[in-house]
């Protein structure tokens, strides 16, 4: 999701093609082609320019509705109802081969779902299956201590900078609670999935969100060739 403007000029986009299974979009104003996953113009007058990213939340409707009951929702167009994807379509895509052959010794299958994080030029991929099992995950990338947590819906993933007043906190999940509740090891304050402390000495504080991208491993690796892989405490390639 990006701001649809470059140098103050508003751009209107449409689908224009596909490049190694990530799609290309074209702006009507200059005709430039943009790569969807990077927001970078790859051809045309604006080649090399990047759109400014707008942080988004990729979450289940149940979770979004609970947090933002006043939100507006884009309505489906009934004419295309048969084309709209079912909830788990990205896992269904497993049937389709990828076009870029995986390198030998590739640690993950190409269409493994990962949550990608990039900070200060350092990239890391967290396999969704590992996150689901081990959430909340405490880690560090590019010198930034991180918390990667899966919501109680088992589908929504958020990443936070886990520093409060300059100090990195460790987090644990309070078992059996829904909605999700985390507790930090230092003050035992209680935190929710939006990164807000609800109770305890840190009540009212909020963790800063860190941008993530839910992607297929092959696509994440294509655009982040030096990416590391979170392997639950085992050493990962590039370490």
């Amino acid at each position: 999701m990006w701001k649809a403007a470059v140098d103050g000029q508003v751009l209107h986009f449409e689908l224009a093609g596909i490049n190694n299974q990530n799609f290309i979009m074209r702006d009507a104003e200059t005709g430039s082609w943009w790569q969807q996953v990077t927001g970078e113009a790859i051809q045309g007058p604006l080649k090399g320019r990047r759109l400014e990213l707008v942080p988004w939340d990729e979450v289940s409707f149940a979770l979004w509705r609970r947090e933002r009951p006043d939100s507006r929702v884009l309505r489906a167009d009934a004419r295309y109802a048969e084309h709209y994807a079912a909830a788990d379509w990205d896992q269904d895509m497993d049937r389709y081969p990828t076009v870029v052959p995986p390198p030998p010794g590739d640690p993950l299958p190409p269409r493994e779902l990962v949550v990608g994080v990039e900070i200060g030029g350092e990239a890391k991929a967290y396999p969704f299956a590992v996150l689901a099992e081990r959430s909340p995950v405490v880690d560090e990338i590019g010198g930034v201590p991180l918390l990667v947590v899966v919501g109680e819906d088992g589908k929504s993933v958020r990443c936070f900078d886990r520093r409060v007043d300059g100090e990195a906190l460790d987090f644990y999940r309070l078992p059996g609670l829904a909605p999700l509740r985390l507790v930090d090891a230092r003050t035992a304050s209680e935190w929710d999935f939006a990164g807000r402390a609800l109770a305890g000495p840190l009540a009212g504080r909020e963790l800063a969100r860190v941008r993530t991208l839910k992607d297929y491993w092959f696509d994440w690796r294509l655009y982040h060739p030096q990416t590391r892989l979170y392997a639950a405490g085992l050493s990962s390639p590039g370490d």
């Binding site: 999701m1 082609w33 990729e58 409707f61 509705r65 884009l74 081969p97 076009v99």
Partner: protein
């Protein structure tokens, strides 16, 4: 001379068809793309409206020359070839990908109660200046691109 004109007409028609077909050929979803192929596809898509129009003009001239000097044996196929070039000139102005994945004609927003989504449906949620909007991933997977404006901020939503 007629044979030369006819041959030229065939070459021109083939060139026009190639011009329009090239991006489709290079950007096939189940084949890999190199940067050079993407550049070639862009160039073909960028210039084919003009090129096919020029070729149509040339084709029309050739057709006129053939018409004066020959019988229906040559006139008919020549006219057909020019018709083909005319079709490519029209096709060059279309975006075939929009045939496969139609864009949303207009953005209509409803409340969460009216959204008609299941709990487990994924959405892309965004908040701009306190205004919250959700774009169902199921919709984005088909339409691919949604242009929107939230709190005066133009956005492009993709998945």
């Amino acid at each position: 001379m007629n044979r030369l004109y006819a041959l030229l007409l065939v070459v021109i028609a083939a060139a026009a068809a190639l011009c329009v077909y090239l991006p489709l050929h290079l950007l096939r979803p189940m084949e890999p793309q190199t940067a050079g192929e993407v550049a070639a596809a862009y160039a073909a898509a960028r210039w084919s409206p003009l090129v096919t129009l020029v070729l149509l003009g040339a084709g029309a001239v050739l057709l006129a020359l053939i018409w004066k000097r020959s019988s229906w044996w040559l006139r008919a196929p020549a006219a057909l070839l020019v018709a083909v070039i005319a079709v490519t000139s029209y096709a060059a102005r279309l975006n075939p990908f929009l045939r496969f994945f139609a864009p949303l004609a207009e953005n209509r927003f409803v409340s969460v109660a009216e959204a008609g989504l299941e709990d487990e449906d994924m959405v892309l949620g965004v908040v701009v200046d306190g205004e919250a909007r959700a774009y169902p991933v199921g919709l984005l997977a088909y339409h691919h691109v949604v242009n929107d404006v939230i709190a005066g901020e133009p956005l492009v939503v993709t998945y």
